[in-house]
């Protein structure tokens, strides 16, 4: 009886020990970890992707594969990538260790669209009261594509829309003419110029 009990305890001990140690002999995959600097900004945005934070407990990392989320890829622990246009991009790093095991991690980069550039000119150069003035904003441009809306505020309470518009002032003085352009990415920008109207009473005090 005693020896049977002893044998039972011995067998259970061995089984417990082997079961408990099983995990210790298993190979561990690496851990992918990286930082982006900066993680957001305005296009064109150059981002440094630092994957050197990745590690492997029981080996070493031999390969770093990046997917920048805009159709391009990169290799290496530290890489730089430039996002030319705005958007939210998913950056994925996949690392492989010397045992062929892998891990991946992802995060997002937010790239803001740059604003459009409003420009306008007007003719005649020194307009008089009642004289039709032609405002032309066709020189405006956007790095995001086309400008889809032009809004004019003439400084006398009147407003209009369109790339080229005409307006008359009935009193002399300086009027702040404001152009707001909106591009097809939804970005907008504003430009103000003061137009001096010859003749008649002044109505604008800067």
């Amino acid at each position: 009886m005693k020896w049977k009990t002893l044998a039972l305890i011995g067998a259970v001990s061995l089984a417990l020990f082997l079961t408990g140690c099983m995990d210790k002999f298993q190979m561990k995959p690496p851990e992918a970890l990286f930082a982006l600097r900066p993680a957001e900004g305005t296009a064109p945005l150059t981002v440094t992707c630092d994957g050197s934070l990745s590690f492997d407990e029981d080996g070493k990392i031999v390969e770093y594969i990046w997917d920048f989320g805009d159709g391009s890829r990169g290799l290496g622990p530290i890489v730089s990538h430039t996002y030319e246009t705005g958007g939210t991009y998913r950056v994925v790093l996949e690392v492989f260790d010397d045992q062929g095991l892998s891990d991946r991690r992802e995060t997002q980069v937010r790239v803001d669209f740059p604003p459009p550039v409003p420009r306008f000119s007007y003719t005649p150069w020194r307009p008089g009261t009642g004289e039709p003035i032609r405002f032309d904003a066709t020189a405006s441009e956007s790095p995001n594509g086309d400008i889809v809306e032009y809004r004019w505020s003439f400084g006398d309470g009147e407003w209009d829309t369109g790339a080229v518009v005409e307006h008359r002032y009935w009193y002399g003085g300086g009027y702040p003419v404001t152009l707001t352009v909106i591009d097809d990415a939804g970005q907008q920008a504003t430009l103000t110029q003061v137009v001096e109207i010859q003749g008649g009473p002044g109505c604008y005090t800067p």
């Binding site: 009886m1 005693k2 009990t5 002893l6 039972l8 305890i9 259970v12 001990s13 417990l16 020990f17 079961t19 408990g20 995990d23 210790k24 561990k28 851990e31 992918a32 970890l33 990286f34 930082a35 982006l36 600097r37 900066p38 993680a39 957001e40 630092d50 934070l53 590690f55 407990e57 950056v91 790093l93 891990d103 991690r105 992802e106 995060t107 997002q108 980069v109």
Partner: protein, 245 residues
């Protein structure tokens, strides 16, 4: 109910009468690996190291120590001579924590992270006296419950996009499962049924992935969950009292 109890007492009385009741208690040092949690700790330490490497960040946050050594208590009783049966309760605790403040461009980024695992195991035990009064071997099996208290407040400089950061929360995750252990105990009798001794054992605790409600423990966010592997060796000192019934 009274009849059943009387019957059990009558049936057991020939065996119980004249037997020895031992009560023992001890303190333990548990050596476990907690692989999954230690991988999480390595991730946290990498983030801490990366932030501290930045020249524009001031302040210091100490890295987390790996969860390996825990302390515990055990209380048991057994009835019988030579071969004794009984029950035991074991408690264990493992803890790692860090705290500090980083300053980035005049803005303070406080950091506080703590992990604390506590095990309660209730087991039936069988002890076998190899050398009566001096050396005994034991095995125990039962049910265990572990609580993992996780508390994290972790701010990093805002201009830096880290692909991973520890989750900001204060939660207790819980798991239950079978536990078992084997042990060897060497005692030094000092008289009046009192003995002091040392013991060593190996505990197997298959408790799976703890949960907080429906949420599994997944601190590294890889979707696989972290198991609490409290399997490992333990060493202890103990006091035993023996009573002849």
């Amino acid at each position: 109910m009274v009849k059943k109890t009387t019957l059990v007492v009558l049936l057991l009385s020939p065996w119980v009468l004249g037997a020895t009741l031992t009560v023992d208690s001890g303190a333990q040092l548990s050596l476990v690996s907690l692989t999954d949690l230690n991988e999480f700790i390595s991730l946290v330490n990498q983030v801490i190291a990366a932030v501290e490497d930045r020249p524009d960040v001031e302040g210091e946050v100490s890295p987390l120590a790996p969860l390996r050594n825990g302390v515990g208590l055990v209380l048991g009783e057994a009835l019988g001579d030579g071969i004794a049966f009984g029950a035991r309760v074991a408690l264990g605790s493992w803890e790692s924590a860090t705290t500090g403040v980083w300053t980035y461009e005049g803005v303070e980024c406080p950091v506080s992270l703590s992990l604390r695992a506590e095990l309660l195991a209730v087991e039936g035990q069988l002890r076998f006296e190899v050398v009566p009064g001096l050396l005994s071997l034991g095995m125990a099996a039962g049910w265990g419950m572990v609580n993992l208290d996780y508390s994290c407040s972790f701010e990093t400089p805002p201009d830096w996009g880290l692909a991973w950061q520890p989750q900001l929360m204060e939660t207790t995750f819980r798991a239950t499962g079978p536990v078992g252990e084997v042990s060897a105990r060497v005692l030094l009798p000092v008289g009046f049924g009192l003995s002091f001794g040392v013991e060593a054992g190996f505990r197997l605790a298959d408790l799976g992935v703890p949960r907080a409600g429906d949420t599994p423990l997944d601190l590294d966010g890889n979707g696989e969950g972290e198991k609490l592997e409290l399997t490992g060796l333990w060493l202890g000192i103990c006091v035993k009292l023996a009573f002849a019934l």
